[in-house]
């Protein structure tokens, strides 16, 4: 029992990332009808927003600390971040410590701007072209984006820590009456899960309760009719693209303490997120979220030693296996609507 709960918890953070990326992919696919292979790159750029924020906040100048000396007996030069200089060591230190969550402030404008630029500058011209062309051009864009990041940040993963307040683990088991240290769960992963729930809830609420969201949902259901109503669906779809990019970016920002960002992390997540979208059902938002969490949890179950000894290698292939089975038996996916890219 405790092992099962532990695996569910372990699957949640990865599942959250899958769900968030898949949510954006589905939004773009559902509204614009575009298969966006650059969506993983947006996730990656989000992660590098956190890195950038951290670097910005850690910008320092050298100061001579008269109270300390180095081994030669000279006064010690220390690096002092500007923020500490401005806000004092306490508040400044806290700001530096919280640079990953603060990365959100940077990520939102950057991602929305990038999303607008992508949609207006590139994707717009591909609405009428075949899906293969859309895949190809966004695949090319993904390469370009990831190479640009590699140029500025290098090829190695960059460690980016969570705020020290969340550095420990939470003993989840004691809450449920298990022995201490049986089910422990890092705080930050819990934060990530809750964060993803907030974002997902926000997106759904936005679509459900605003006029804007209503139009977008109507557009997802029947693009042509909504177009005929004389509603300027173009502008809304552009905004939708920006929103989807922001969701992917935020997913990336908050993921940095879990996985040190590198330039190709987007591609790794993209492949899995596409599988998630397909399993959930192309064009279904709840399906994408459900499938994201399901597959994340399934993956962590498959990596249990008991399961692995039963079926060797299952942890490596479980997601793909599920996708293949789903695609063959239920091409619409778990919650897909009839007629969405079905043939």
């Amino acid at each position: 029992m405790d092992a099962i709960i532990l695996q569910i918890l372990n699957g949640l953070d990865k599942g959250s990332a899958y769900a968030l990326i898949a949510l954006g992919l589905t939004l773009i696919f559902g509204t614009l009808g575009v298969v966006n292979f650059a969506h993983g790159a947006l996730f990656m750029i989000g992660a590098f927003c956190a890195v950038t924020m951290q670097r910005l906040l850690s910008l320092s100048y050298e100061e001579i600390d008269p109270t300390r000396t180095d081994f030669l007996g000279n006064p010690l030069k220390v690096e002092v971040p500007y923020v500490e200089h401005w806000f004092g060591p306490d508040l400044g230190g806290a700001i530096v410590d919280w640079s990953v969550p603060l990365g959100i402030l940077l990520a939102i404008p950057v991602m929305i701007g990038l999303g607008f630029a992508m949609e207006r500058g590139l994707i717009k011209h591909f609405y009428k072209r075949p899906h293969a062309d859309q895949i190809l051009v966004t695949f090319g864009l993904a390469i370009v984006l990831q190479e640009i990041i590699k140029y500025f940040f290098g090829a190695n993963p960059i460690q980016t820590g969570a705020p020290s307040a969340f550095s420990g683990s939470f003993d989840f088991g004691t809450l449920l009456g298990f022995d201490p240290n049986v089910i422990i769960y890092p705080y930050w992963r819990m934060v990530y899960f809750l964060f993803s729930l907030v974002i997902i809830g926000g997106v759904f609420a936005f679509l459900q309760f605003t006029t804007f969201g209503m139009v977008v949902r109507a557009g997802m259901a029947d693009r042509e009719t909504v177009g005929l109503l004389g509603i300027d669906i173009d502008r809304r779809f552009t905004l939708m693209f920006g929103l989807a990019a922001a969701v992917a970016g935020l997913a990336g920002v908050m993921y940095t303490p879990i996985l040190a960002p590198n330039y190709h992390m987007g591609m790794d997540f993209l492949v899995l997120s596409f599988v998630v979208v397909v399993v959930g059902g192309m064009g279904s938002l709840p399906g994408a979220v459900l499938a994201g969490f399901l597959l994340g949890i399934l993956q962590s179950f498959a990596s249990m030693n008991e399961v692995k000894s039963l079926i060797p290698g299952i942890d490596q292939v479980i997601i793909y296996l599920v996708a293949i089975v789903i695609l063959l038996t239920r091409p619409r996916g778990l919650m897909g609507r009839k007629g969405v890219m079905e043939d």
């Binding site: 009808g33 298969v35 590139l122 717009k124 011209h125 591909f126 609405y127 009428k128 072209r129 075949p130 899906h131 293969a132 062309d133 895949i135 190809l136 051009v137 695949f139 090319g140 864009l141 993904a142 390469i143 370009v144 190479e147 640009i148 590699k150 140029y151 557009g219 693009r223 042509e224 909504v226 177009g227 669906i233 173009d234 779809f237 591609m267 492949v271 596409f274 599988v275 397909v278 192309m282 060797p312 290698g313 490596q316 292939v317 793909y320 296996l321 996708a323 293949i324 695609l327 063959l328 091409p331 890219m341 043939d343």
Partner: protein
């Protein structure tokens, strides 16, 4: 001749001539000159041209003709390589049994994957092939380690049986005693040409592969595949079952990939799982599109182009750039070098990505279409005809689908 029309025969002969003369043609600059770094006539690179040419030709039979975009063809490449290295280990360094078997095994593998994947089309087909390839890759790294030797990669050890290898047999890949890595160097007044056994072996295979693809393109079967790409509904209502056609195309392209993978191992007796990763599948997609999907020469051009960039362009560093622009005033020189810097050397992937996007956006027919356009332009100039550009070319900004 060869069952082809006069025009195709001429085309084939030109291709054969170019392939056989490659070691000379790709060595246009004399040794020691400042441009010698652009020479591509060394065995390792030329072998790659031929091998990836084969890979792309095969991929084109599937994607170019039927329009089914597979993102998992690298799996067959890996299978081919592993097969050949295993044959080295069991039988000996003669490449022939391994290559034959690699084609057979990849065909069986493609039959299985194709049979399942082709039950869906469009993006679903792409995802299915991707899923299969990623599964193969992950398994090759984990549970299949006894077969693939995991991260180290599969190679031949002294303790391997090699039951067919006699005492005097070569200790590297060979074809009945013709050792692949052997080369003859010809020094002609500053120009050095390398004629490598391995390259010529690959070249013969590539010519054969090209010839077969030419026959397929001109056959009723090829026509059916193109018909599938343009209208499957009409295809079915014309009494044709599109599934076996696409499956046949899938298996053929899988065999091409298996052969290419086998040849990789025939040139360098090593096989690693990274050959099966989806980035490798993506590479063959890039090659085919860049060169021109659905055209005969396009994929070969694309493969050559990308491999040339990967090996030559990536070697250009700041020092070389400074050398080129040394004639400029210092400030300007530094500025221009700084401008070029992100795109060359390690940044060549960036150039490739941008180029690929430009091709997809403006030149859907790839390099081949580009050359045809230039050719038409030149001819029009010569004949003194109207000089206007082609009026109908895509893409103009497409009207929004929701209009």
């Amino acid at each position: 001749m060869f069952g082809l029309s006069a025009r195709d025969t001429r085309f084939l002969l030109i291709v054969i001539a170019l392939t056989l003369l490659t070691p000379i043609l790709l060595q246009p600059f004399p040794e020691g000159s400042s441009l010698a770094q652009f020479n591509a006539g060394y065995p390792d690179l030329m072998q790659k041209f031929a091998i990836f040419g084969i890979f792309a030709i095969g991929f084109n039979i599937l994607f170019g003709l039927t329009g089914y975009l597979s993102f998992g063809h690298a799996a067959f490449l890996g299978v081919g390589s592993y097969t050949v290295v295993w044959m080295y280990k069991l039988l000996g360094y003669n490449v022939l049994p391994g290559l034959l078997l690699s084609v057979v095994i990849s065909a069986a593998f493609a039959l299985l994957i194709g049979f399942i994947s082709l039950r869906r089309s469009g993006i679903y087909f792409s995802i299915l092939t991707l899923a299969f390839a990623q599964m193969s890759y992950n398994l090759a790294y984990s549970v299949l380690t006894p077969i693939t030797n995991g991260e180290t990669g599969l190679q031949v050890y002294a303790s391997d049986p090699q039951i067919l290898a006699g005492s005097g047999a070569p200790t590297s890949p060979h074809l009945f005693g013709l050792v692949m890595r052997n080369s003859a160097q010809v020094d002609l007044g500053g120009w050095v040409f390398t004629f490598n056994v391995g390259y010529y072996f690959c070249a013969v295979m590539a010519i054969l592969a090209f010839y077969i693809s030419l026959r397929i393109f001109r056959s009723p079967f090829g026509m059916m595949l193109r018909a599938i790409k343009t209208n499957q509904t009409r295809m079915n209502y014309t009494g044709l079952n599109s599934r076996p056609y696409t499956l046949a195309a899938f298996v053929i392209s899988g065999m091409y990939a298996g052969l290419a993978g086998g040849l990789l191992a025939a040139m360098d007796p090593l096989a690693g799982a990274e050959r099966m990763q989806w980035t490798a599948s993506g590479e063959v997609v890039l090659m085919t599109i860049l060169g021109g999907a659905g055209t005969l020469m396009g994929p070969v051009l694309g493969a050559g182009f990308i491999k040339y960039f990967e090996n030559i362009f990536s070697k250009i560093n700041d020092g070389i750039l400074h050398g080129w622009f040394a004639f400029l005033p210092d400030g300007l020189e530094d500025f221009i070098v700084a401008c070029f810097h992100p795109f060359v050397g390690k940044g060549w992937h960036l150039t490739l990505g941008i180029l690929f996007m430009l091709v997809v956006i403006f030149l859907p027919g790839g390099l081949v279409e580009g050359m045809q356009r230039i050719w038409r332009l030149v001819r029009r100039r010569k004949s003194g005809g109207p000089k206007r550009k082609d009026p109908e070319h895509r893409p103009t900004a497409a009207p929004h689908m929701a209009e």
